[in-house]
Every structure is written in structure tokens, then in C-alpha cells.
Symmetry: C3
Subunit: 341 residues, 3 copies
């Protein structure tokens, strides 16, 4: 989409210095940007602003007489907002591909795309403006809201409820059976995985991530949650609003993750753990089963402990050889003292 | 499927108190159950039994005069068994979808479903009662047994042998090349991944899990094994009967995992490790290459060590600041003592 | 493909002892090989060479009078080279399946296979000799080089550039959006993921691995890199030539991994880390954000530290109970000494 610099300045509530008539149609970084690109610069990169060929640079402060700049309080945020408009693909007429297999009773909204070979089972519904790309599968009675983008080869099992403006990347599996078995004398018996899954508005889910359905309850991903690639969300989990979870993290059954939490990559969270809002977990941290994490705690390590405690322990472990040596010295000196008496 | 309470009681070998004529057709938990739902209650939830609206509650003991209950020794197991019948989908006529691409010589059994767009290559076979959902791929000469469910978008490479009643969830990749390369002066040369993969009866494999084919041997998942989502099983691995492995665990090449083992999530097991039957590994544990774990050992941590040893070490590490302080005190007192002589 | 033993000996530059006329058409290990199989034996398995039924054994030295053997300096490498020829599938005429959905302007080379139901979007190109298996998706303007094999159900987003002889296993997602969001007062705003991804020649990528597109830059996987299954490569990462990365490892945004590195399984590498060429990381290691690893360093543990340091610390931690006991003894003896004065 095309916008001129004045429109961008207005959009982000910034102050324009330079030529507001420059037309922008894309974004880039300071180095690669051309005359129709918008870019931005954090303060540490201000020295590079005069050299950029970008049509416009969003900055937080400073004077750049030879450049067209827009000054705002949070340049990265303003850039992201403007980029989301500039990069919006041109509105094409969307259609249901002739090779898509859509059950007769499926409710399809206006301006919906269903890609080649996608399969939509009976009782499902797809609301206005949503894109279901090629090779996706939407199970029976699953409901997908408005303006969602479901990338190719996503699988959504039966009875999932997906909100509006949800983005699901390729290879995700939403609503598969959770991992529940009861031991018997002749092997394991499958515990019913008869619950469902709710994904609220404005959630984004990375590639090849798995969100299991509830067993007898619901798995729920609340508004604004962002999950990275290859994340595992087990049955009956609840993830609170605006929580972000980095790649390859695993959340075991029946955990509750509070809102506005920040969870690093490759974190493991044991069953029935309860993380209050604003929890921060460092990468590769391990939270024990049934652990209760207090509001806004910052935890690190396995088993996860307060960051300060973690760093203290690390420091003491690093000091162990010196402690060991001191211990030996004390022993020798004490023996000498004993003898000298 | 519909059953009345008397039939359930008989099925699970339990004692019925109340109205055996109540008709059940689904399952739920104590809170959400309605009059046609079966539920169950562990002892700690007995206080909530009188309040449930469930048609029948399976319990382990106790008297609930206002409720229809079935008393058994293991309520959760009995519930799981009954649920597997109640939740059985009605027998629909299964068919091969007109858009499935099935090679001419593929042997398709009776009552088989092949979903839209699924591809079955030459020489493959699908036995009676098996469901291959939409978008699946079955490679050349792969054989799939009876009454399996292969969820949408599963890929099975050539020459896999899959038993009966196997469940494979969406996004799984069975039989891809293992990770084997030989270093040469001009980069890596691919080591042949020319083996095959066997998955025995009653195995369940979670979404997006990978089971590689053997290199020159076989990768084998034995009867009753349950793998969670996003698990990695490398070439030439053998996993023994009735072993369960939680999400995101990785098993390196040529490992042997004994029967009835319980492996937590995000565990890493190095090449050529040999775990005897009944091994228990805590979440995020790391087993070194070629490690031999004895029968029924319980290991924790990285490198994995006996749980007791792990806990002892954790406790001593936590005590390090105090030890350090004591060391300093001893030093001061010793110096004082020296001077006072 | 058929070759006789003399041809194999010539191919690998080895010395032949025995019958050069034996015809080989496959490979196997010492135990399972039959009369038309090539196998190899490392020195520790030489005792088993006389028992094998293989048509030919590649060895590093030794005399095996009753066997046809080829002697070379590196038997495993020679075996791998020969196996890659012997196992080459017979050249079949390749074709574009009638159910593939290929945009009008897609450039398709000679001898290309496009499998059933595969989707290739406008502006893409597929060079000579490449195989795109069933159910794959190739996004707009993505270019795939010569002689690649893209296994079933791979998704390649728009604007990816893939070199020659690249192998991508099933379920991989190449070029999905990276994980970038800017916090605002009303939740997270998506940071543009408008970059692209380059995969150079001779790369192999395991099943269900994810390689994200750059945000404003490029994600680049250089010539000869081998990635195992379920690996995560975030936006703006660069991986140097001939680096191998084992399963379930995660590489965060903007990392640089030097050439010829060897990265174990389940390793986590934090944002903006810079690993010089020849880095070796043990399984489950954790590299902190922005860490700079020197050339050919061997690191272990979390946070990753030099292997020697790691082992020393492990040893001292194991010694903690003894140190604690010694500390208590010293205390008692010191008190006794004080009293005795």
C-alpha cells in the first residue's frame, strides 16, 4: 500500500521534518532501504541515519537536516505500526479454489479465501475476510473468526473455536488429542481427550506449534498471546492475555500461565504449574510440577528459581575450586597449630 | 454410542448404586457433566460428587445416597475404559475420497477411509478398518495395519511397517532420513539412510513427532508405546513395549529404551545410550552418549544421575553461600588463634 | 544402480582383494548384508568380517583371504560415497502430476517432478531435475534450484531462494514470519517480517524443522549445512558452511554461527550470539544472548562454558558433600583447640 510521509507522520502521531510528499510503499533497514522505503533508527544507530537512502526515517529525537524524518517517542513501535499498513497486500478478490473440498453445510463468510486442496469438514464455519491457505484442514464444527490468516498445511481438529485476526503459521496442529493414559495390567488405556480448544482474538501461532484440545476441559489461549515456532501446549492449559512464548517451549497439562508473561525459548513447565501474571522465565528454565510462581517473578534455571538466587548460586559454583583450596589450607594450618601446642 | 448405567457397571466390573436405567452417551468432568454424561471422582474430589449433574459417577469407595454411582477399585481406569466406548463415533460407511491419489497396485482393505487429497504410492497397503485422513502421504511399499487412525497431513515415507490400532496425529513424519554424514575434505557426504521403520500395534504418536528410518538397520517402536507431540526419534532407535515419552524429548541414534519406561518432557538421550526396562527420567534430563541405565533407575538432571543424588547435590548447592561464610569465619578464627599463641 | 566390485574399488580409490566381478546393487550392515550388498567395517568390527555374507566389504586395513574386500584409508567415507551411487533410484521419467496446482507464470525446468496436489504460486521457479513431492507448497517468487528433493508436505513461503542439490524433509516450514513484536499500551504490535531466506547448495534440512524469513534482513543457511529434525532457526540468523546441527536445537534471532561448527541436540542459542567458525556445543548447552564464542571453542552446559571448566565444576559439585563434612570437622577441631588453650 502506498502512503506519503505526511500520512505516516499523522498515523504515528509524530513530528515531520523534511519532505512530506515522498511516497513510501515498503520498509527496510537503514542499510538496505531505498527511496520508497520507510525505516527507523534507535538512538545507538543515529550516526548511520545521514547515510541511509531511505525515503523516511522514524527516530526518537535528534536533528537530521539532510533527511526526511518523523520524530516520535517510540520509533520502533511507530515503525511497526506504519509497516503493518505499508506492507498490507493489495486487496485482491478472494475466492474458494475449485479444488478445495468444503462440506455442504459449511458457513463461509464474505471475502474468504480457501486455497487449493484445503478441506473443511461438516459443521465448520469461516467468517468474513479470513484466508485459509492451500492444504489446510478444518475439522468438524470448528469455527474460525474474521480476518484470520491460516497459512498452508495447518491442521485444526474438530470443535476448535478460533477468534478474529488470528494468524496461524504452516504446520501447526490445533486440537490434537492431549497425552493422557491410564496404566492397566495390560498396558496403557487412553484417557478421553474429549475437550476442546479456544483461541481468542489477535493470537499469533508460529510454525509447527502444537496446541492440544482439553481432555474433559478446555485449552484456552487468550487474546493477544504470541507463540513462537515448535511450542507445545498440552491439554487443559490456559495462557493469559498478551503473554509471549519463545520457540520450543513446552507447557504441560493443566498449567495456568498468567497474562503479560514473557517465557523464553526451550522452557519446560511441569503439570499443574500456576504462573501468576507477569511471570518472566529465562530460556531453558524448568518449572517443577504444581509450582506456584508469584506475580512478576523473574525465574531462571532448572529447577527455576529467582534470577538473583540463580546468579548467586552460579557465582558460588564458580568459586568452588577456590573454596576447596582454602579448605585444604585451613586443614594444613590447623594440623600445624595442633602439633605446635 | 449409547449405554445405560447397568451396562457400564458390567463393563468395568463395578458395583452399581442407584438407577441402572439412566442412559449415557458422553463423558465430562464433575463440574461440566450433564444428565447423559459419565464422570468419575478420585477420593480427594468426593465432596463434589453430591453436586454433580452427571448421570453416573465412577468412584473408588464411599456412599452417595442421592447419586447413581459405580464403585470400582480404580475409578480413573474404569472411566477411561467406559469413555472409549461411549465416545466411539457412530460407524459411518467409510470410503475412499474421489480426490485421493492411490496407485493402481495399492491393497486397500474393507471399510477403509482415505480422505480428500491423500496420496498412497505404489506397493503400499492399508488394512481393514483403517482411516487415512485428508492430506496424508503413504510412501512406496509402506504397510498400514487394521483399525489405525492416521490424522490429516501425516507423512509416512517408503518402506514403513505400521501395526494394528496405531494412532498417528497430524504433522507426524515417519521414516524420514536419519541424520548421518561422514566428514570429507570437501564437506559432508551423506551416509546411507537405507533402513526402515517398524511401528507395532497399539502405538500412539503425538502431533508433529518425527520417527526416522534406520540407516542400515531398523528403527522400531514396540507395542503399546505412547509418544507425545514434537518428539524426535532418531535412526536405529528401539523403544520397548508400553514405554511413554512426553513432549519434545529427543532420542539420538542407536539408543535402546527398555519396556515400561517413563520419560519426561524435553529429555535428551545421547547416541548409543542403553536404558534398561522401567527407566524413569525426569523432565529436561540429559543422558550422556553410550550411558547404560540400570533397570528401574530413576534419573534426574543433566548429566542424568539418580534422583537421590540429584536432590542431595541440589541441597548442597543451595547451602553454598552458608558454606562460604563458614569458611571465612574459620579463616578469621584460625588467624586469631595463631596470633594468640 | 548396479556396479561391480572393481568399479566400486575404482570409485573410492581403494585396493581390491578378491573377486572384482561380483555385482552389487545395494548396501547393508555386516549382519544383514547379502551377496549383492556392499558393506564396510571399522577396525573394531574386523572380527566379524569373515562371517558376513556381503558381496564386498570396505575396510581400512587387514587381510581377509576368504572375503572380497576393498581397502581404503577411510572405510566409512568410501562406503558412504559408494552407497550414494548404488542407492540412486533408477531414472524414471519425471512429470508434473495432473492434480498439482501451478500458476501460469511458474518456470519449470527439464525433468522436474511435481507431486499430486502440490501448489506452486505465481512467480516461482523450479530448476532442472528437481523433485517437489505431493502436498508441498511453494510461495510466490520462491526459486528452487537444480536437483533438489523436497519431500511431501513441505511449505516454502514467498521469496525464498533455494540452491542446488538441497534436500528438505517433510513437514519443514521455510520462510515463515519470525517472532518479533513491539509492546504497546494495548498489547503487542507485529514487527514487520518482510525479509527473506536463502538456502545455499547442498544443504539438507530434517523433518519438521523451521527456518524463519528475515525481519528486515535475510536468514541465510550456507553451502553444505546439515540441519536435523525439529530445529528452529529464527529470523536474521546466518549459519556458516558445512555446519551440522542436531535435532531440536533452537537458534534465536540475529545469531551468527560460524562455518564447520558442530552443534549438539537441544542446544539453545540466545539472540545476537556470535559463534566463530569451528564452534562445538554439547547437547542441551545454552548460549547466552550476545555471547561471542571464539574459534574452535568447545562449550558445554548452561550457561555454556569451556568443556574443561564445565567438567571441573561438575567434579567440584560432586565433591560438595565431602567438603561440607570437612568444614564441620574443621569447626569442631577448631573449637576444641580454642577450649584447650
Amino acid at each position: 500500500m502506498e502512503m506519503n510521509v505526511s500520512q505516516i507522520a499523522e498515523l504515528v502521531g509524530g513530528k515531520l521534518y523534511g519532505n512530506g510528499a515522498i511516497v513510501l510503499n515498503s520498509v527496510a533497514n537503514l542499510t538496505t532501504a531505498g527511496p520508497n522505503d520507510l525505516t527507523y533508527a534507535e538512538e545507538k544507530f543515529h550516526a548511520r541515519v545521514p547515510e541511509t537512502r531511505a525515503g523516511c526515517v522514524i527516530v526518537g529525537a535528534g536533528s537530521f537536516p539532510d533527511q526526511t524524518v518523523v520524530v516520535v517517542r517510540n520509533p520502533k513501535l511507530a515503525f511497526a505500526r506504519a509497516a503493518n499498513l505499508l506492507l498490507k497486500p493489495p486487496e485482491e478478490p478472494r475466492e474458494v479454489h475449485s479444488t478445495a473440498i468444503i462440506a455442504e453445510d459449511v458457513a463461509i463468510g464474505k471475502n474468504v479465501k480457501v486455497g487449493a486442496g484445503a478441506v473443511i469438514e461438516p459443521g465448520a464455519s469461516i467468517a468474513d475476510g479470513t484466508i485459509i491457505e492451500a492444504g489446510c484442514y478444518v475439522g468438524r464444527r470448528s469455527r474460525i473468526g474474521q480476518d484470520c490468516t491460516i497459512y498452508p498445511n495447518v491442521v485444526i481438529y474438530a470443535d476448535a473455536a478460533i477468534g478474529n485476526r488470528v494468524i496461524i503459521h504452516s504446520g501447526c496442529v490445533i486440537g490434537a488429542d492431549g497425552f493422557g493414559f491410564v496404566r492397566s495390567s495390560s498396558g496403557y488405556v487412553k484417557f478421553p481427550q474429549a475437550g476442546w480448544v479456544i483461541i481468542e482474538d489477535d493470537v499469533e501461532i508460529g510454525a509447527n506449534t502444537c496446541v492440544d484440545r482439553g481432555s474433559l476441559e478446555v485449552t484456552i489461549i487468550r487474546r493477544g498471546v504470541k507463540l513462537d515456532n515448535l511450542v507445545q501446549v498440552a491439554h487443559n492449559v490456559e495462557i493469559g492475555e498478551d503473554t509471549v512464548i519463545a520457540a520450543q517451549t513446552g507447557i504441560s497439562g493443566s498449567c495456568t500461565i498468567g497474562a503479560q508473561s514473557i517465557i523464553g525459548g526451550q522452557v519446560g513447565i511441569g503439570e499443574h504449574a500456576r504462573l501468576n501474571p507477569g511471570t518472566v522465565l529465562g530460556g531453558q528454565a524448568g518449572v517443577l510440577n504444581s509450582k506456584h510462581v508469584k506475580t512478576r517473578e523473574v525465574l531462571w534455571g532448572t529447577p527455576a528459581r529467582p534470577l538473583k538466587e540463580f546468579l548467586t548460586q552460579e557465582a558460588y559454583v564458580a568459586r568452588l575450586p577456590a573454596m576447596h583450596e582454602e579448605l585444604q589450607k585451613l586443614r594444613l594450618e590447623l594440623e600445624a597449630l595442633k602439633k605446635s601446642q
